[in-house]
Structures are given as C-alpha cells and as structure tokens.
C-alpha cells in the first residue's frame, strides 16, 4: 500500500533553520544539518528545505549547505530557493538533493519548468505556491514569498504547473502559516481535485488531528509542517502514531520506537505513562540497530 507522507519543511533564513509565522516573523531554531539529522532519525517520510532568502537576494542556492545537511540524512530531500538554471538543479542533486522545489521561476520563466522536467524527469520537479485571500476575499497565488498577488487562482495555477511538467504540487497557505489553526481544507481540496499529480499541503499544523483532516477531508497525498515538528522529541513518530490510532492505515510507522501503545492527551501529545511502566523503563535495554 502506498503510504500517505508526513513531511517536514525546514525554512532556512541566514543559513539557520527558523520558525516562520505569517510569512513575516521568524524565530531561530538552529543548524540545518542537525535539524535534518534528527528529523531523519525520527522517521520523517521526507524533508523539504526552503532557503527563503535566495530568491529575495537574487542569489543561487547554497550548495555547500545542502551537501553538509545531506550527510546524515536517509530520507528524500527536496530543496527550494533561488533555483534558476538547469545547472543549479544538477548541482543540487549532486550535493544530496533528490528533488527540487520551484516557486519564483514559475512566474519569471515558466518554460524553465518544462525544460527542467525534460532533463530530470517530472518526478524530480515540485512546483510550490503560496496562496492567500485577496481584497475580494478570493484565493489567489502570491509570488515573491507572499508579497505580490500573481493574478492566478490556486486551481488555475496548479493546472498550469501540471501542464508545464510538475511532478508534484506543494500548496502553502500564507494566512495559516505558523497559526497552528489547522490546514486550509477548502484550499487544499480544490487544488487536489484539480490535478492528477500528488499534492502536498502545508501551513497551519498545530495538532495531529490537523494532519488527519488534511489527509481525509483534504484529499492530499502528503502533509507538510514546519514549526510543528520543532522542539519536541520524536514529533514525527508521535504524529504518525496518533494517525494510526485514529484509523489511518496507510501511514509508515516502522521505527523502533513507535508509540503504538501510547495514549494521547487532548493537545495531541503523548500522555504520561503509568508509574509501573516508567519504573520498568529504567531496566529496559535498547539495542542499537546493527545493519
């Protein structure tokens, strides 16, 4: 069975992972390589690394940062930010990326997406877009990290991206970014209905039930969160355990620690175990997996 993917998005600013709130506020988290290593160990299904300064500063991707970050990573890595040429993609893949995420170039030079998918195959090309509500209260795609309304509604944008040769669509909600209010279900359902390629939803995760809603009512193939996964041990695994507990069967939960027996609090976190269980834990031997 093909699993629904739980993806972590690392927003990178000034070379550091940050939490992003409403595309306006940024709080530092830490080093990129460390964040990638931990997420990979915590059984995340995929990592998306977005350098939000690159396009704004008009510079190329930071290849050394990607090479360094990929060293201890064993899950698929998608990299975005500042990609403008075929050579950029080639060097990113040679630095440890597996896919690329294209956003700004969709508006500046749409033919580039066609060319990139011809060279690298459609499965390598993710087209990402940031949606917000415009003055008329309708959804619109914004370019330049959410600054410029691009005059396209999300469905039209996604359809065009698929035609140009995108292999996946990454749809982010500007208003939900960092809000912890849940994914924008009408938005992601609309995009998911429009295209026949996989859709990744992002923006608004604050509780594991939000992932559940996006995967069921939202109809997407993958759910992505940034801030949600930081500062909490094993956060991807506990999220998956919650989803499995609530009836989703198509989730990859095969890590050594899997929390299959755990109870959850109302906030969606692991509830404290009984005293007997905790006392026994002191004597449990956790062998390191030998491959």
């Amino acid at each position: 069975m093909l699993k629904k993917r739980i993806i972590a998005c690392l927003t990178v600013k000034n070379g550091l992972v940050v939490q992003s709130i409403g595309f306006k506020q940024y709080l530092p988290v830490g080093r990129v390589a460390i964040a990638v290593e931990f997420l990979s160990q915590w059984a995340i299904d995929e990592i998306v690394l977005l350098d939000i300064d690159a396009s704004r500063e008009g510079r190329r991707p930071d290849f050394d940062m990607i090479k360094n970050a990929s060293r201890r990573n064993s899950v698929p890595l998608t990299v975005g930010g500042g990609i403008r040429t075929i050579d950029d993609i080639m060097r990113l893949i040679h630095s440890g990326a597996d896919k690329v995420s294209l956003n700004t170039v969709f508006f500046d030079n749409p033919d580039f997406i066609k060319e990139a998918s011809r060279v690298f195959g459609v499965q390598c090309i993710v087209v990402s877009g940031d949606a917000g509500k415009n003055k008329k209260g309708r959804y619109e795609i914004y370019s330049r990290s959410g600054l410029n309304p691009a005059g396209l509604d999300p469905a039209a944008w996604a359809r065009k991206a698929e035609e140009l040769g995108a292999g996946e669509i990454f749809i982010n909600s500007i208003e939900r970014d960092g809000s912890k209010a849940g994914f924008d279900i009408p938005l992601i359902r609309e995009v998911s209905k429009t295209v026949s390629i996989p859709v990744i939803a992002c923006g608004g995760a604050g509780h594991p039930k939000h992932f559940y809603e996006a995967l069921t009512a939202g109809g997407v193939s993958a759910v992505c969160a940034g801030n949600y996964f930081h500062f909490t041990e094993h956060s991807p695994i506990t999220t998956k355990a919650y989803l499995v507990r609530h009836g989703l069967k198509d989730i990859r939960l095969d890590s050594y620690a899997n929390y299959k027996e755990a109870a959850f609090t109302e906030a969606g976190r692991i509830a404290k175990m009984g005293e007997d269980y905790l006392a026994d834990l002191m004597f449990e031997f956790l062998p390191e997996e030998v491959i």
């Binding site: 069975m1 093909l2 699993k3 629904k4 993917r5 990979s40 059984a43 299904d45 090479k67 990929s70 060293r71 201890r72 990573n73 064993s74 899950v75 698929p76 890595l77 080639m90 893949i93 040679h94 630095s95 440890g96 990326a97 597996d98 896919k99 998918s117 011809r118 060279v119 690298f120 195959g121 459609v122 499965q123 390598c124 292999g167 996946e168 026949s196 390629i197 996989p198 193939s221 993958a222 990859r252 095969d254 997996e289 491959i291």
Partner: protein, 219 residues
Amino acid sequence: MNNEVLIVDYEVGNHQSVANALARLGYRFKISHEAAAIAGADVYILPGVGSFPEAMKNLDRLNLVGILKEQVVTGKKPVLGICLGMQIMADSSEENGHHEGLGWVRGTVEKLRADNAFRVPHVGWNDLRIMKKDPLFTRSGDSSNFYFNHSYYFIPAGEGRGPDEPLVTARCRLCEDVVAAFQQDNIFGVQFHPEKSQSCGLKLFRSFFNHCGIKSSHA
C-alpha cells in the same frame, strides 16, 4: 579484488545520496566516469534521477556504453541499477519519444497510467511483495517500506529462467504490475531508492555487497 564500489557518474544521478549511504555502511567507493576507474572497480552502482533520453545521451557522450558492457555483460561484474539506473538496462523506453536502452535485460519502459486511486508520478513509501529473498532481500522484513519516485516502469519481456530463477524478484503491492526489483545473474535493478529508504534501504545495500563479497570497514 580491490574491494571497491564504483558509483557511475553519468551526470543525471543523485550519486551524493548513494555516497552518503555507502559511507554510513563503511564501504570504499569512487564516483567517476573515467575508463580506468571503471575497469578497476569490483561492483557498480548506476544511480538515477533524470529522464531516460538524457541518461542515454550522457552515457553515449561519456563513452560509457561499451566500457560498462565489457565489465558487466562480458566480465560478469555485479551491478545495481537504481530507479532510472535500472530502467536504462532495458531494451527501450517511451519516455519523451522512443529511445534505445543498454539492452542488458529484455524488456521495455512505459508510462504509468493514473486513475482515481493512483496518482502519477508514483511518489512515496510503499511495501513490496517479495518473490525471491536471496540475495537482495535477505535482511528485509515482510513489512519493509521503500521509497519510490517514478512515472515510468519496467515491463519484462520474459519470465526469467523458471520458478527458481525468476527475473522479477519483488513487485510493488499497490499496483501489482510494477516491478520493484529484478535480478538476471549479476545484473540487479531496483525501481525504488534504497539510498533514501532509511534502515530498510541500508539493509538492502548490506545484503547486496555481502553477496558480491565486498568488505566494509565496519565489519
């Protein structure tokens, strides 16, 4: 034996990801397309992230088709093709027009068809129906998940040499017609990405290199 793995660099491969996995397992490897390096290696990995015509064009331009054939088909050195690296071992592909492949394994590469329940590209973690465990899957459990990312798939022309030596060694569970792995003597191919499949993928590499008699500095 030099105990050396060669990751063939034909410019469309994610060889850094493969290199990271081999380094973690403690293998000596080179990333190259030089004739001397290819002749001196014991085992080959053909990684692949790219389109079929682009891959074949690069192999041609770098003069790799003849050299690899000499080592793999004539010299019987083991090779593992990953994703596109597996597909180019076939006779031909219909990706962006009709293109000839290396022709080491009889079969063609065609586009996956999307339907309501199945989106193309086939992206994500999927489990396998393993038909032949030895040697690639000797360490794999029944619920091993592997990462797939492709929109074309390999269709074998023959059945292999009978029930004991089938060509196809694993299929993908959701879409039964997708070949996940094959083996023809010393030629191995996997449609998924073991270098991106966490410990399930590392176990597959370990089984493959043990089968080839390659030693790791960790052992």
